[in-house]
């Protein structure tokens, strides 16, 4: 027992002491927060560039001036020119694009199809600009039609309804407002994080084993300890590195979130301005806050820890077995790793489905089947999972871990001292079930 602790601490310390560990551990949250801040900054600022769009309005749908709702886009109506004549000139005159509205040639009954709308530009126009122009035309045309039919446009706006449906979750602690977007995002983030960590740390185990084998240190070490102790020491040590990294990230992310207002003092200001200008934003922020508080956070964190450990341990032993049978040739390793990655990827695919429909039979199966359950269960975690499913899934995962460790331990024991030819699957299965 003492020896396995020595192995664990070596595996752990050599990795944690490395500069690259420190670098990735610190850089990842920095990059994430930076990314997050950049998105906020960009979305608040909008595009700096003013766009001027020339309009040739042969159908005469606009009056003398066009009032744009988007401040960054302005429209100028060009007179005494045709689409064909102006198309060569709009760029020289400082316009980014040319909108031409001409009567449609084909006979059609609906009003918008009586005209043809074309936007000429030198490079493709951004989606938001397209949307702004479409909205402008739609509104103008609608107002015209309403007036033509004798309806007051202001009265019409008042009649139009925009219903918002609220989902309230009733628990013993009281009612909470749910937010489907937040639920989706948290489920997806948990699933993808487990998926990435399982592959990342699993590969680390595999590389570590192959390194020991090709360096021939394995032979020295297994003359002091059992091969199984060496394998488990490595798996547990690397798992502890994963947990450490995860814990540091949580702390750092929390700290960075607190620090954002100090780093970008004007960001909050801008957010406030935006909120004043547009009420929807404040509503959205409040919704997000309520959505997060409505989530069963303790359950999510505990399940995340369990499924990360369970999934990692189950797959790590498989990765260790693969690492023990290959030699320096990385291509061999890739061939053997593929069948291990398959269920992980399958789990990922089921997870994306399970988020949308957490109680479908595929999602339930995927979250109980131990090879996919760590990822799929995280995709369902924000929904209400029956206790029996959670319990069955956990028991099966633990059982699967013991079974895999038992058989891969045997493959590892033989593989680590075998050099030369890569064993076939048949041989490996024979080792696994040999006495």
């Amino acid at each position: 027992m003492n020896k396995i602790r020595l192995i664990i601490s070596r595996e752990y310390l050599t990795r944690v002491k490395k500069k690259s560990f420190l670098l990735t551990t610190l850089l990842v949250p920095l990059v994430m927060v930076g990314f997050y801040a950049a998105i906020i900054a960009i979305s608040l600022k909008g595009s700096d560039e003013k766009q001027q769009i020339a309009v040739i309005d042969e159908s005469k749908i606009f009056d003398k001036e066009i009032h744009s709702t988007d401040k960054s886009i302005s429209f100028v109506i060009i007179k005494n020119e045709t689409e064909q004549s102006f198309i060569k000139k709009y760029k020289e005159q400082g316009f980014q694009a040319l909108l031409s509205i001409v009567p449609a040639t084909t006979k059609d009954t609906s009003s918008s199809n009586k005209m043809k709308f074309v936007l000429h530009s030198e490079s493709s126009v951004s989606l938001s600009t397209m949307n702004a122009i479409e909205e402008l035309i739609n509104n103008t045309l609608r107002t015209k039609e309403l007036i033509a039919n004798g309806i007051d446009p202001i009265a019409f706006d008042n009649i139009e309804k925009n219903v918002l449906l609220e989902n309230i979750i009733d628990t013993q602690e009281g009612s909470k407002k749910s937010n489907a977007g937040i639920t989706y995002a948290v489920s997806f983030a948990c699933g993808i994080l487990i998926y990435m960590m399982m592959i990342f740390y699993g590969t680390q185990v595999m590389r570590g084993v192959t390194e020991e084998k090709t360096n021939r240190i394995a032979e020295v070490v297994v003359s002091s300890v059992k091969p199984f102790q060496l394998m488990m020491g490595k798996i547990i040590g690397i798992g502890a590195v994963g947990l450490t990294q995860f814990a540091i990230w949580l702390v750092l992310l929390f700290m960075m979130q607190m620090a954002i207002p100090f780093i970008f003092p004007d960001l909050l200001q801008q957010a406030n301005n935006a909120a004043i200008n547009n009420q929807e934003n404040t509503v959205m922020i409040a919704d997000i806050m309520q959505g997060i508080s409505a989530l069963p956070l303790t359950k999510i964190i505990l399940s995340f820890l369990f499924y990360f450990l369970g999934g990692y341990l189950t797959y790590a032993s498989l990765f260790a077995a693969v690492g023990s049978v290959v030699s320096e040739d990385q291509q061999e390793a890739q061939q053997l790793v593929f069948p291990i990655l398959m269920p992980i990827i399958l789990g990922f695919v089921i997870m994306t489905k399970a988020i949308n429909d957490p109680n479908s039979s595929l999602a339930v199966f995927g979250s109980i089947f131990p090879l996919t359950s760590p990822i799929v269960m995280m995709g369902r975690i924000t929904s209400d999972i029956p206790i029996w499913q959670l319990a069955l899934s956990m028991i099966l995962l633990i059982g699967c871990f013991f079974f895999f460790t038992w058989i891969t331990g045997k493959i590892y024991r033989i593989g680590i001292l075998m050099y030369g030819k890569k064993p076939t699957w048949k041989e490996m299965i024979k080792w696994a079930f040999a006495k």
Binding site: E212, N215, R216, I217, A218, V220, V221, S223, S224, L417
Partner: protein, 309 residues
């Protein structure tokens, strides 16, 4: 007293009888040579003695008791033929780690490491990594990691490969030293001149079977062919067929093989009577190399893959 006894050890792999019914004893404090051509089963045998492999059948008695790989690890030091160390780990930490894996306490291990690092002038290596060392240097380091926990039984598989003569002598002296202080050394090699120089007792294995077992002088006596070297200038007419056959005749010496029933004294008497001026006369014993080649070549050196029943 025997520190290690092997009784009818067997280990069969799918296509080979790697070790087939081998028994021998090694007495405490001796330097024991385990010889054999490539693929004879030496490494498999050593792996069973170090507890890495379990024998299919047979028994290993270590230090008077049945061999228990887990608890006897502290008493065994094993240096495999293919050297292995963590390339990226600092040398000091690495030796400490390997010593503690054997079961040493941290303080004991540090004291021993200091002693050996001073002895081999390796003090400046502590914070270096193995990848910074030359082949010879890492060989020395590997030797230190093998003996650091003062094992009763030290198993060295080709310890001199890659060492220059200076460092080879350094290691050789240490091997003698360790044996003098009571450690038993199993020395596995196919370099016969080193065996003749170092070992007391040898066992030769080939194709998984033991084909020779004895002390070096006994083995040589068993395989001698009654060949003598006579240092003298002898004219051809003196060569008689009655006493001996000429193996080689050179201006200053004669190699002769005694005929059966004849003794060396009779030969000497004959040449003295003939008035030959004799400068030297001695028996030529076969070298281990010769014995090795005779034994192994008769059996066919290359192992064939054969199915095991």
């Amino acid at each position: 007293m025997d520190i290690l006894s092997l009784h009818e050890l067997k280990k069969y792999f799918a296509t080979q009888k790697a070790v087939d019914n081998i028994s021998f004893n090694i007495s405490e404090g001796s330097i024991f040579g385990l010889l054999g051509p490539n693929g004879a089963g030496k490494t498999t045998l050593l792996r069973m003695i170090t507890g890495i492999f379990y024998p299919d059948s047979g028994e290993i008695i270590f230090n008077g008791k049945k061999f228990d790989p887990l608890n006897d690890a502290i008493n065994i030091g094993y240096m495999p033929e293919e050297r292995g160390l963590y390339k990226k780990m600092k040398i000091g930490e690495q030796v400490l780690y390997l010593a503690r894996l054997k079961g040493m306490s941290k303080t004991d291990a540090m004291a021993q490491i200091k002693k050996w690092f001073v002895k081999f002038e390796m003090e400046s290596w502590w914070d270096k990594k193995v990848e910074d060392l030359s082949k010879g240097m890492s060989q020395k380091l590997q030797f230190v990691t093998t003996v650091i926990h003062q094992p009763k039984l030290i198993i060295l598989d080709e310890p001199f490969s890659g060492l220059d003569p200076v460092n080879a002598n350094l290691i050789k002296d240490e091997i003698f030293n360790l044996a003098k202080n009571g450690s038993t050394i199993i020395f596995s090699t196919h370099r016969m001149e080193q065996v003749e120089e170092i070992c007391d007792h040898i066992v030769l294995v080939n194709k998984g079977k033991k084909i020779l077992d004895g002390t070096i002088s006994n083995v040589k006596q068993d395989f001698k062919e009654n060949v003598y070297r006579l240092g003298a200038a002898i004219s051809p007419e003196l060569l008689t067929k009655e006493l001996f056959e000429v193996v080689k005749h050179q201006p200053e010496q004669l190699l002769l093989k005694l005929n059966t029933q004849k003794t060396s004294n009779e030969v000497l008497q004959y040449f003295i009577q003939e008035g030959v001026h004799i400068q030297s006369f001695n028996e030529v014993l076969p070298t281990l190399n010769d014995i090795f080649l005779t034994l192994v070549e008769n059996n066919g050196v290359t192992r064939k893959f054969q199915p095991v029943n």
